[in-house]
């Protein structure tokens, strides 16, 4: 049966990640970072991978990983979401790792596991398991050409996994013929890039059906794992707002004593409780590669994405004018949450997947 709790090891992992983030990635630093030239925190990434071995949690020990699994990756993501940390963990330790596990590429898995390299799946941020990307990149022998737009967390990585029409390729991100253009993105802590490939040498790591399956399963993993990040984002928003409304006084009372505020935050808490159960379920199914994984992943995105958005919107609203300023970090979470509502497919598209998987078909054609 699905295990929706956190076990002791997972709680210990959470504590380590949280301590690391508190020491090295306070939100104030991230806020300053999005205004600068380098939105990504490469130092934090090195610590996460090196100090905690977090990059290889889902990689088997025989490939140099920790041999834990995606439940543990999900716990790390909760904490990264809570810190809105600018590192390519979801894309590299989650999505790309899942693709490489499917391809069985021991060498790259080993490099990712120890954090020596970070990878991104070169697809649009909006690509979901319902619509794996068309092969906009065309392979001619082992040479790739074409364009992929709106790739999340591609800028800070050195390895791209590129779906092409005859398979999935590994490509050096800074190799010749790869032109990466940053996009002015809603989420400054997880920016997008447009990538043009012009006669780029690549190594094929899967072909045909196996490649398609690797990409689809990687996107399922992304949808499933993003839910845990969203729980973390929502939890920060709730905690921060609770703290604010306990202290902030108006009309001679803490504003947190007003029922309109209390009930809205109670609703946010209820939604987060639900989102946590749904996200744990998705991580658990993914971890054991259960046949229900795709359903659990789509359920997770159909539910958790909106929970994070509503929590972030409540955070801005209940902070009043302060929450609307650039100097308060609430907007980082709002932007991450809203971007998450598009990432790996919108809730609307995941509901359409559920219609298929749960046998709830739409109207007959022509109706």
């Amino acid at each position: 049966m699905t295990n929706l709790l956190y076990d002791d090891d997972e709680e210990a992992l959470r504590a380590s990640v949280r301590a690391l983030l508190a020491a090295h990635a306070p939100v104030s630093g991230t806020l300053a970072r999005v205004d600068g030239d380098e939105p990504y925190d490469r130092g934090l990434w090195a610590r996460l991978a090196g100090q905690l071995g977090a990059a290889g949690l889902a990689v088997p020990e025989r490939h140099g990983g920790a041999g834990a699994g995606f439940r543990e990756v999900a716990v790390v993501l909760e904490e990264l979401g809570r810190a809105v940390a600018p590192v390519p963990y979801l894309g590299s330790a989650g999505v790309a790792t899942r693709a490489l596990l499917r391809c069985g590429d021991a060498e790259l898995l080993g490099q990712l596991a120890v954090g020596r390299r970070a990878a991104a799946l070169a697809v649009s941020v909006a690509a979901g398991p319902d619509a794996p990307p068309h092969a906009v990149v065309v392979a001619d022998g082992p040479v790739l050409s074409g364009t992929v737009t709106g790739v999340a967390d591609a800028l800070p990585v050195d390895l791209l996994l590129v779906p092409a029409d005859d398979g999935l390729y590994a490509v050096e991100a800074d190799g010749p013929g790869v032109r990466m253009t940053p996009v002015v993105s809603l989420d400054g802590t997880r920016t997008l890039a447009d990538i043009v490939f012009t006669g780029v040498p690549g190594r094929r790591i899967a072909a045909g059906e196996a490649a398609t399956r690797a990409v689809t399963d990687a996107l399922v993993a992304g949808a499933a794992l993003l839910a845990s990040e969203q729980v973390g984002v929502a939890q920060w928003c709730l905690d921060t707002t609770v703290e604010h409304v306990r202290l902030r006084r108006q009309f001679g009372r803490p504003i947190g004593s007003f029922q309109a505020v209390k009930h809205r935050l109670a609703d946010v808490w209820v939604e987060i409780s639900e989102a946590r159960a749904v996200a744990r379920h998705a991580a658990d199914r993914l971890a054991v590669d259960h046949p229900d994984t795709a359903l659990a992943a789509s359920l997770a995105q159909a539910h958790c994405a909106a929970v994070a958005v509503r929590a972030a919107e409540a955070c801005v609203q209940l902070h009043g004018g302060i929450g609307f300023t650039w100097e308060h970090p609430a907007h980082l979470y709002l932007k991450r949450a809203k971007s998450g509502a598009v990432a790996f497919g919108t809730a609307d598209r995941h509901r359409a997947v559920l219609a298929r998987l749960a046998d709830l078909p739409g109207p007959p054609p022509g109706a």
Partner: protein, 385 residues
């Protein structure tokens, strides 16, 4: 010294069954099960239990069910089992526990709850029913409302005010009320579904022996907290399979009646399905927490969500069914023991579900409880103490 493992308990049940025929007389079988400590395994030895961990209860229940043994019809006596029993265990005298727990568990004696009052509403502690000491007795007068099973109950748990001048939470005493005592009058309370699950109970100088008092005089609110805490746990604790609740009815209609489907309603059905599955997983997680001995506050979340969901799903079902959705089955005044939420018409579900956000703590009260007890937000300025 019993073996407090799942296997140990299965062995105990097997041994019990080898001496007691599960197809035999119901009440004697249940009494024997109680006496063997296999009623509530976490209760003390001698009171239906074995002092075993609570999460092993399901092991015992399943073993008896597999053997085709009769159960104690738990839904018929949910107040007794879910609320009175834990309160008796915690606050009752040895004599009280000895007297009440066995027939309660076997279902020979049904219990009801005399807490709510018409003037108090959500402010339970604002009750006006008075109990006045008279020698070894108390004389109780007042009116209670929303009492399910009062017309079947042998006993009730009762709150009454014993110190009218004390602050309202400090002047209440908790009693066991004899529902057969003179002065107890039970009248059906018809609800908007047409039927009467509930009752009004009028108490006119009802004499209760002081031996029926639970806990100290004027300390009843503290005792009641045990009862109410167990109510919330009970609500959150029911496990459901996927599509096990009202959503299953809606999904079935959707699958079986393709001519009713529209693109717009499809979107709503899918949203409801997602919410129902999320609520179900949340209830499951709560159950796993209880089993692991880490009860969380999610019971309130589950009750809130289930109430909202039942209302939303039944409302959607009425619209999906169109003309047929406006057909009701029966407005006759009846006295069901529990609502038939999955068996009757969409109209019945829609109407009955309105009560889900009122009974057992309104959704407004639950949100306040969550905000104050879980999130630690400050209380509102109080004007009533």
């Amino acid at each position: 010294m019993p073996d407090h493992t799942a296997d140990g308990l299965r062995d105990l049940v097997a041994a019990f069954l080898s001496h007691h025929d599960p197809g035999g007389e119901r009440t004697s079988f249940l009494r024997a099960r109680f006496d063997a400590g296999l009623a509530w395994v976490n209760f003390p030895v001698g009171l239906g239990g074995l002092d075993a961990p609570r999460h092993l209860q399901s092991v015992v229940d399943e073993a008896f069910a597999r053997a085709g043994a009769p159960d104690n019809r738990p839904r018929r006596n949910s107040i007794g089992l879910g609320m009175a029993a834990p309160t008796l265990l915690r606050h009752g005298t040895p004599a009280q526990r000895q007297r009440f727990l066995r027939p309660l568990w076997t279902g020979e004696e049904i219990w009801c709850q005399l807490f709510s009052e018409p003037d108090a509403g959500s402010d339970l502690a604002g009750l006006n029913t008075r109990a006045v000491r008279d020698g070894d007795d108390w004389v109780v007068t007042g009116q209670k409302v929303w009492t399910s099973m009062a017309h079947r109950a042998r006993w009730a748990i009762l709150l009454a005010r014993t110190a009218p001048d004390a602050p309202k939470h400090r002047g209440i005493t908790y009693f066991v009320c004899d529902m057969t005592a003179p002065g107890v009058e039970v009248r059906p309370l018809r609800q908007l579904t047409g039927e009467a699950e509930f009752n009004e109970v009028f108490l006119s100088e009802v004499r209760l022996s002081d031996t029926l008092r639970l806990g100290a005089v004027d300390d009843g609110w503290r005792v009641a907290r045990t009862t109410l805490m167990n109510e919330r746990v009970a609500i959150g604790g029911r496990p459901l399979p996927r599509e096990g609740g009202m959503i299953g009815v809606l999904a079935r209609v959707w699958r079986e009646r393709p001519e009713l489907r529209t693109a717009g309603l499809h979107a709503e059905v899918l949203r409801a399905w997602v919410r129902a599955e999320a609520a179900r997983l949340t209830a499951l997680r709560l159950r796993q927490q209880l089993a692991a001995g880490e009860p969380g506050p999610e019971g309130s979340a589950v009750k809130l969500s289930f109430a909202g969901l039942a209302q939303r799903i039944s409302g959607l079902e009425v619209e999906l069914l169109g003309e047929h959705g406006l057909r009701h089955d029966d407005w006759t005044m009846r006295r069901p023991e529990e609502p038939d939420l999955l068996g009757r018409t969409a109209t019945y579900r829609y109407l009955r579900a309105r009560g889900n956000s009122i009974e057992g703590g309104t959704s407004e009260i639950l949100r306040t409880v969550i905000a104050e007890r879980v999130l630690g937000l400050p209380a509102e300025p109080r004007v009533d103490r």
